[in-house]
Symmetry: C2
Subunit: 179 residues, 2 copies
Amino acid sequence: MHVVSARERLLTAALDLFAEHGVSGTSLQMIADRLGVTKAAVYHQFQSKDDIVLAVIDPALNRLGPIADEAEAQRGNAARREQVLAGVVDLVVGFRKVSATLSFDPVVMRLVRAHPALRNLQRIRRLLGGTAPDPGSRVRMAVIAGGLMMAGADPAVTGLDDEDFRDHLLAAGRRILKG
Amino acid sequence: MHVVSARERLLTAALDLFAEHGVSGTSLQMIADRLGVTKAAVYHQFQSKDDIVLAVIDPALNRLGPIADEAEAQRGNAARREQVLAGVVDLVVGFRKVSATLSFDPVVMRLVRAHPALRNLQRIRRLLGGTAPDPGSRVRMAVIAGGLMMAGADPAVTGLDDEDFRDHLLAAGRRILKG
């Protein structure tokens, strides 16, 4: 049985409020009110709103390194590319709710840009596009990077279940990448 | 002979400063200093910084309607889709510098979201994805929308000339869209 911790309840309430008011428009007091606890109880879990946002986005950003590791362990560029595509697609599907809520939020973007795990994006891009890509590969790289990054937040996919979303996202990625 | 107007000089200086400091970090005084004119001279051209940003993004957003019009004038879904793809690709290529500078800027996003021409994005999405798209088409729609939107701002394509960028972007779009 999964017992929902106070921390998880807080993050769920915060994400709901971020979706309604944006991160900047959400205060720790609003999160406390939503949970029916005191602001001190919120502070007991998180020192600041940035810490709450980081607790939401860290699990996604911290997947980037292992995704690159697993792909680099494959033999051959085609297998590496397929592995890294599958890893990124799983990440997009797994964090589609977070992505739809927090994409484009200026507070989130500031924290993402400063996040140490972001360096792994360069590894992932090399795995997808090669180390010395020709112009066509560079453009395909830009399209797939933007397409995967934005897909989870796109209203067109809201009604799809995770399995359909994953299968079709993989298929779209393979269409773009195939040489 | 193309005479560069005071207005064009001002917009060029503003865009350079936006690239260096972000829109929020750029004041009308900084724009005046860059041009060697008084702040009053800047006010003579534009009432506010929002007006300057709108003068930069309006030409791009105001292309969305004509792009949809031209595509809707074609016969058959395939021809419409090809026409709208070509129109959006031209737009991305034509505004790649603006896109690389202003994408993700919170001031810009606020103005884009409130812009009346944005309603034409729905027409463009219908032209690309159809009126009652299946799950696969919806995912491809999300990928191509995000991919095209982000491609102009991607560092991977910075070194490409416009013609190469356009050709490869069209090719990538066709790969995703072909049924």
